[in-house]
Symmetry: C2
Subunit: 641 residues, 2 copies
């Protein structure tokens, strides 16, 4: 086995290698990623697909100054490995380690922190226009700014991201750029279910029509016709297009958008890729290079089932089989939701599940299997998911939109205009609400209470545990208006000591008191899964002789008036939520308190401060910002004084 | 002059007319719209373009049960006129009158309230899937639901809306529909500046290549090959496509998305349109009909300058010339912003203005003329506008994003991920923040303080008048992080009595006291343009012997700590803002107060309740929800007791 990787500390070291050496390096990197992700968990299949592509880009461009924008960003491991962060992979996505996404705070090779899909092209356009304006300024003799070399811009977009509305808005506006800007379309044909969306079908049709020989031929055609000194670039583009048009049905789509299209070519042929990038980097036009890669390449389990290994927890290899290291016996909120919904749908054929490329992640696999005719996956198109749900609700169905809190942000306007304004009974099941742990700041769901409670007509609820998940769903399915059900990326807690109170059916805007003491002058009011921390705090306080009531708020909109009336008699209330303090549940309590003119000067709000919290274990993040029993205890002690 | 319009009270009356009679009716309707909008103001050019198209649709479909979805919705006047709302046009967009947008509360012919672009296709998909599922259910013999006729679905989308990301996500997912669903692409080639976006250029190229004769030929080709009884629909589509493909370069785009495309045809030829809709309504496939219309047709001033008459105030006609009835001498916040920005850009060549099809509406016309190289309009693509700004900021520029509050909602996620998370110095100049008057609930900007203050790193500010607009811009341009500047659709107030205080430079998080009295125990704290109402209240109260301080908050994030410290000594504070109470400025004050353990019962929040407020005069809306001097006075009286 070769040992090139050991000596790679920067892209400069990669640039020194010959093509055969790079081929060996690619294999080493693949092995390194599999080993490393097996220990820490992380994104696997997508990273294994882009090893050669990443090496080739670094051989040609200089991303210390040139800009490489990864769409979504979870496929940047090779990039991180060769830009000096190899050693830090032992702590990938863990405290003190590196993030699983590009992050400018880590390295000058990462221009942008990203985690959502569809934004690489639009951001690249902004940067390209910026460089264009700088270049124009330099041509102005009055301006004396130092002349620097031209900065090249590369956007790397997958076939799952290019169908997103933002990508399309970018493609439609590429014409604003009058200089170099390369879009690499990394087409692994498996990023999403191949049956999702017309464009995926179109790509897949094109792909099936191409033989390996075709790809080689296309590559040489492009290289042969690229401009040499003294020849016009425009002319070259024309000649290339002409010579390969017949072989390129995919080019139609991009040609109608007036973007010069090259490809498709083999994304694992590192030698050709280097030549292609060299040729394309000299164009003074935006261009698209369509590249075929294989998601999960080199890891047989992922090669066979790439969606399973899209994002994985730690695992161990046993020959060709893989065993996931998972927590024993515990079930997650996601699983709880998925099971209850599938079951409820047995009896109610008006229930339709809709997701945007998160079928597995939102626990809908069972639903999909059991009710295939009532399951819709629209690809990475959150806006479409919400509007389709609105249309379905208008037709008398009960659509359930299943999207992570962070990704649902994309649909804020659609939720406001097409659901809230029409007062339609669409149910939003918001998974990954609150801190998400290892994925970090791009993926936290800390804003959804705020961005949903601001909308008229919406009822906001959050189950504390498994039994409440069922009850919240039953409530929502019988409610005549839009409802949010939010829950975290976590295991459902036991909460068995309070199951009696939690078993009461959900009534709009009604909280349940789960622990009460006649001696209590303090109420701890939890919204959603933080009930566990509230109960823990109650236990600790009881031992200290401080008696508190624990209230499970259940609703953030409307707020139970009972909560406010507590302020009349009690010393104070402590609200706790897995959300930003700004605009959150506690904030809603304050608004109602102000309106009710209650004589309180003791409302303590526990939640996340107005700042971005880095990747870490979810529990550590909660602890870090004070969403924990200890902090509740501290607040209660102070009030009890 | 004919007089058909007088006898049209429902689409049934339209259906009775012959084609020559419909042609006359169309002219009558055009005259009616011009007269009516001249008196009330409203959307003119777009409505004049779709008269024949609307009549033809109503001749073929029955929109009591069939669904007609207008994208954006401002082109629905003919639809409203012939669906029993003709008489109500005297009060169009005014109290007691009808809305300028579709509204189910007005008529069963309006299935959806809309006002934002890009959502008709996605909503139509939802409805079509709904009907599809109902039909499948009926085929199930176990199900005994009554068999009803099939409901037809039509989405009417303009060429400006089809480039929106949401439209594209819809087009990409049309394949989910396995039944009839007709998309009418209303291409008036002038909806936006023809130079904006690749797709607009593409349509425009196609349009230029078509003669009137071509359009006629295409129409007969479609009609000739449409299926007759006993022939398969799929087969017919294939034959039509084959027979007209050569003439149809536009079809490439939609064919790559696998949507059967028909056209382009003449959108003013009512007889042909009826035949085409009849033929297309029988397809058991989704399909696109591409129609050419002329925006502003029949109104020579609009015909010549359609963008000027897109949305107009009242006007009077004098032969062929038009005079707008406008308020004398007053300048708007929009104009104030536009002039200051254009002027500041003279001295600072890093300032770039970006808008999404709102150049005129956001006051950027001067900027565009004076700094053409630093002005970018991306079309109706708010997400792209924000990301391009982020890219520009990363490249060292000072991008200023100019979008109405209601439309900026589309970019919520992009603002969070690509601006806040990167802490980039992008300036958001949010016009139409607060109540917008005649456009009504789809257009109010009542959520932006909430949806922006929830994001870390953002500084939120709002100028109260013209001098503060300048100062806020100067502050933002010198601030190293993202800044929001919000202002309403209103005239800048005089505020001359407090110009001295308002002339102090903006300092981050610092309010200014504009009226103070030693005797005062109450502070009225205004955020932004409501300073006028606060000052009015102060005058009234002074006469009653109630002395209040008036504080111009200037910032909603961060909140001035001084505001909170007032609570220590004063009887109370009254906050006032042109925004939703939920998550607004007052809510932010409460959060800070809770953190400081100050008595919260002394805070009274004035703002909009959590409900949708209908179209009306802006001042009436403010009055209606209590954002006015009288209500401030009332609150102060109560506190003073």
């Amino acid at each position: 086995m070769s040992n090139f990787l050991e000596h790679i500390n920067s892209p400069a070291d990669v640039k020194k290698l010959s093509v055969p050496q790079l081929v060996e390096l690619a294999e080493e990197i693949r092995g390194f990623i599999i080993q490393s992700v097996g220990k820490t968990g992380g994104h696997l299949a997508s990273n294994l697909g882009v090893v050669e592509l990443t090496l080739a880009l670094h051989c040609v461009f200089d991303f210390k100054s040139d800009k490489l924008l990864w769409d979504v960003g979870h496929q940047c491991y090779t990039h991180k490995i060769i830009t000096g962060r190899k050693e830090k992979f032992a702590n990938l996505r863990h405290f003190g380690g590196i993030s699983g996404f590009p992050n400018p705070a880590e390295s000058q090779f990462d221009p942008f922190m990203v985690g959502h899909a569809g934004t690489a092209i639009t951001t690249a356009i902004g940067m390209a226009i910026g460089e264009q304006l700088k270049a124009e300024k330099k041509q102005n003799p009055k301006n004396e700014e130092k002349n620097t070399d031209e900065i090249k811009i590369v956007a790397m977009v997958g076939d799952a991201s290019i169908v997103n509305g933002t990508s399309f808005e970018g493609l439609n506006n590429v014409g604003l750029v009058k200089r170099q800007m390369l879009i690499v379309l990394n087409d692994n044909s498996m990023a999403i279910d191949a049956t999702v969306g017309a464009m995926a079908k179109y790509f897949s049709k094109v792909r099936l029509s191409q033989t390996y020989e075709d790809l080689r031929k296309t590559t040489s055609n492009i290289l042969e016709h690229m401009p040499v000194i003294g020849k016009s670039v425009e002319d070259a583009i024309e000649r290339i297009k002409k010579s390969i048009r017949m072989a390129l049905p995919a080019s139609q789509m991009f040609e109608s958008l007036r973007i010069p299209y090259f490809g498709p070519v083999d994304g694992h042929d590192i030698g050709s890729l280097i030549q292609l990038f060299e040729a394309l980097s000299d164009l003074n036009h935006p261009a698209i290079l369509h590249v075929y890669t294989r998601k999960g390449k080199g890891f047989s389990p992922a090669d066979k089932g790439p969606t399973k290994f899209h994002s994985t927890g730690p695992f161990t290899m046993n020959g060709d089989t893989v065993e996931l290291t998972s927590a024993p016996g515990k079930i997650t909120f996601t699983k709880s939701f998925g099971e209850h919904l599938a079951e409820l749908a047995e009896k109610d054929d008006k229930i339709i599940a809709i997701t945007s490329a998160m079928c597995d992640g939102t626990g809908l696999m069972n639903f999909k299997t059991q009710h295939p005719g009532r399951f819709y996956d629209v690809g990475i198109a959150e806006s479409a998911a919400v509007d389709i749900a609105a249309g379905l609700a208008k037709s008398g169905f009960k659509p359930v939109v299943c999207i992570y809190s962070t990704f649902l942000q994309r649909s804020f306007d659609h939720i406001a205009q097409d659901v809230a304004l029409q007062n339609l009974p669409v149910i939003f099941c918001i998974d990954r609400a609150g801190f998400v742990g290892e994925d970090g700041p791009t993926h936290h769901g800390l804003m959804d209470i705020g961005y949903m409670r601001i909308m008229p007509n919406f009822t906001l609820t959050a189950p504390a545990n498994d039994i409440e998940m069922r009850l919240a769903l039953e409530f929502a399915l019988n409610h005549n208006g839009p409802v949010v059900i939010r829950y975290p990326k976590d295991y459902v807690p036991d909460n068995s000591s309070v199951y009696a109170s939690c078993s009461k059916p959900f009534e709009e805007g009604k909280s349940v008191t789960v622990k009460s003491s006649r001696q209590s002058k303090i109420a701890v009011i939890s919204y959603g899964s933080t009930l566990t921390q509230a109960l823990e705090a109650e236990e600790i306080l009881k031992k200290e002789g401080i008696h508190v009531n624990v209230i499970n708020a259940r609703f953030a909109a409307p707020i139970d008036n009972k909560i406010i009336s507590l302020l009349k008699h009690d010393k104070g209330i402590i609200t706790v939520e897995d959300h930003s303090i700004a605009c959150g549940f506690g904030s809603a309590v304050l608004e109602l308190a102000a309106q009710s003119k209650q004589p309180i000067n003791k409302i303590k709000i526990l939640g996340s401060p107005r700042e971005f919290i880095g990747h870490n274990l979810r529990n550590t993040q909660l602890f870090q910002v004070g969403i924990n029993a200890e902090n509740i205890v501290e607040a209660a002690r102070e009030m009890a004084r």
